[in-house]
């Protein structure tokens, strides 16, 4: 019986930060699901804020490595999907507020 929880997986992935916007992938709403099998194999279903993101492979690797660091985890798989397409409504409120900026020019 696997004792790893979804919360643990999300917490591990929340250490991965998008260097362009400065928020982690979980609060950005980019992680759609974490499927944990009885054997403790983990499949992360995620998206990116844009297709053709130059960090595509790298972000996948960071997520993979972050989940691999959880004690007792089996095989880790990261799948990037484009449906549903990401939009800002999927992000946490703190992200929405911070991205809204001051709106001033100077």
């Amino acid at each position: 019986m696997c004792t790893i929880t979804k919360d643990q997986v999300y917490k591990a992935i929340s250490t991965v930060v998008d260097p362009e916007v400065g928020f982690n992938l979980v609060e950005m709403g980019l992680i759609y699901d974490a499927i944990i099998e009885e054997s403790c194999n983990v499949k992360v279903v995620m998206t990116l804020s844009t297709r053709g993101c130059p960090l595509h492979q790298m972000i996948k690797q960071w997520v993979h490595e972050a989940v691999e660091r959880i004690e007792g985890v089996g095989v880790v798989e990261v799948e990037v999907v484009w449906e549903p397409a990401w939009n800002i409504s999927m992000a946490d409120d703190n992200v929405k507020a911070a991205l809204g900026g001051s709106g001033t020019m100077w």
């Binding site: 260097p19 053709g52 993101c53 790298m58 993979h64 490595e65 397409a85 991205l99």
Partner: protein, 411 residues
């Protein structure tokens, strides 16, 4: 642990020379403007020297360097041969230098400079076309890259014909070929490329999603039709109505494009006004100004209006869209090369920390004021005003040169 593919982010060493050379040609090109008077004609050889120095050495150099990174981003496949880019910039730099000498001092040199530029652009096009073959997702941007590559081929062919005309006495109608050449390169390549890239990059950096793309599709096909129509009309000698109709189509295309930009701007989630956003505002404001001046020029035919419209397109629109994106592209490449291997091991900087904010701010203020004042100088035929604008732009150019070096050397 598996290996990270570099398909989507080419090595900094391949791209950095494009940005270094581009900023050199930018600053020297602006200094060169000091030696121009505000009442020059659009086919003056000094002006042609400057335009080629600026457009090939700065605009094309930076576009090619940026495309090394952006082609995989917009086409969603890796380059056919990224190392080919190591050959593109030296040929382009030396070719541009020789063309400058050819226009200014010795016309005999012009075809040799032109030939080197053709070699450079042909290498670039070869990689682009071979990369296109592997594209699976045919987006509008992929279509713009394909069509703009065709126009670039026609542009360099027409340019080389003129170089042979000036340097070797080949008998061609220079005025006709100049107009066709300028339209292929500026409308067919540079503008279409910017249109195609901006529909990817503006939403990417502004986090805009779910907006209507109908205007950009119309803008793209109208621009391609207008550029083709103008060139055919010029070639066949049906100048008056053919030119008027084609220019009207091009103006309509620019109108649709600006409307699309407004839609993207309204739907953006990221609202901070950093140096990139300010540069976009100024660039698109310049394009709108040029559109108005260009439309008036069609009605009243004034050399000053034509020059001012060209000024706002090249120095305002092209330049600010390019310099604005440098503050996104260079930090990313430097970060990817030097800091991405450290993620998860130690604290790494965010991209917005990797450009000099004050120098960027000074660059924006001096350059934008310079473009506006210089543009009014051209419009009014006032040499003092024009030179005042140039002075400000030289200071802005110096700040930009400093910023590029600062970003590339960030450790």
């Amino acid at each position: 642990m598996f290996n990270v593919s570099r398909d989507y982010a080419p090595p900094l060493g391949v791209i950095a020379p494009f940005f270094k050379m581009g900023s050199f040609f930018y600053v020297t090109g602006i200094v060169f403007l000091f030696f121009m008077k505000s009442d020059f004609s659009h086919n003056d050889l000094n002006l042609l020297a400057l335009v080629h120095w600026y457009l090939l050495g700065f605009v094309m150099m930076i576009i090619f360097g940026a495309m090394a990174q952006l082609i995989p981003v917009v086409m969603e496949v890796g380059h056919f041969g990224i190392d080919l880019y190591r050959l593109v910039w030296p040929f382009l730099a030396v070719g541009t230098f020789l063309m400058g000498i050819g226009f200014l001092v010795s016309p005999k040199v012009l075809p040799y400079g032109g030939l080197l530029v053709i070699v450079s652009i042909s290498i670039f096009l070869y990689d682009t076309i071979m990369t296109l073959w592997h594209v699976k997702h045919i987006s509008l941007t992929v279509k713009t890259v394909a069509v703009s590559s065709l126009f670039l081929s026609l542009g360099i062919f027409s340019g080389f014909m003129m170089a042979l005309g000036i340097g070797e006495g080949l008998s061609i109608n220079m005025d006709k070929w100049l107009n066709i050449h300028a339209m292929f390169v500026l409308g067919g390549y540079v503008t279409l490329t910017i249109m195609g890239l901006s529909i990817i990059l503006l939403p990417m950096f502004g986090l805009s999603h779910g907006f209507d793309e109908t205007p950009i599709k119309r803008a793209f096909w109208l621009m391609a039709t207008g550029v083709s129509g103008y060139s055919i009309a010029r070639f066949l000698g049906i100048d008056q109505w053919g030119e008027l109709l084609s220019l009207s189509i091009i103006f309509l295309s620019v109108g649709f494009y600006l409307y699309q930009i407004m839609i993207i701007y309204r739907s953006r989630a990221r609202k901070e006004n950093d140096i990139w956003a300010k540069s976009m505002y100024f660039g698109y404001g310049s394009l709108a100004s040029a559109l108005i001046l260009g439309m008036i020029n069609v009605l009243v035919h004034s050399e000053q209006l034509l020059l001012a419209a060209g000024w706002f397109v090249i120095m305002g629109f092209f330049t600010f869209l390019i310099t604005g994106h440098l503050y996104k592209i260079i930090p990313f490449l430097v970060w990817f090369e030097r800091f991405s291997p450290l993620v998860g091991k130690e604290k790494v900087p965010m991209l917005h920390e990797m450009y000099p904010k004050k120098a960027a701010q000074y660059e924006f203020v001096f350059s934008s004021l310079g473009v506006v004042i210089g543009g009014f100088g051209l419009l009014l035929g006032d040499d003092t005003l024009f030179k005042t604008g140039i002075s400000l732009m030289v200071v802005g150019g110096g700040c930009m040169f400093y910023s590029v070096r600062w970003m590339l050397n960030y450790k």
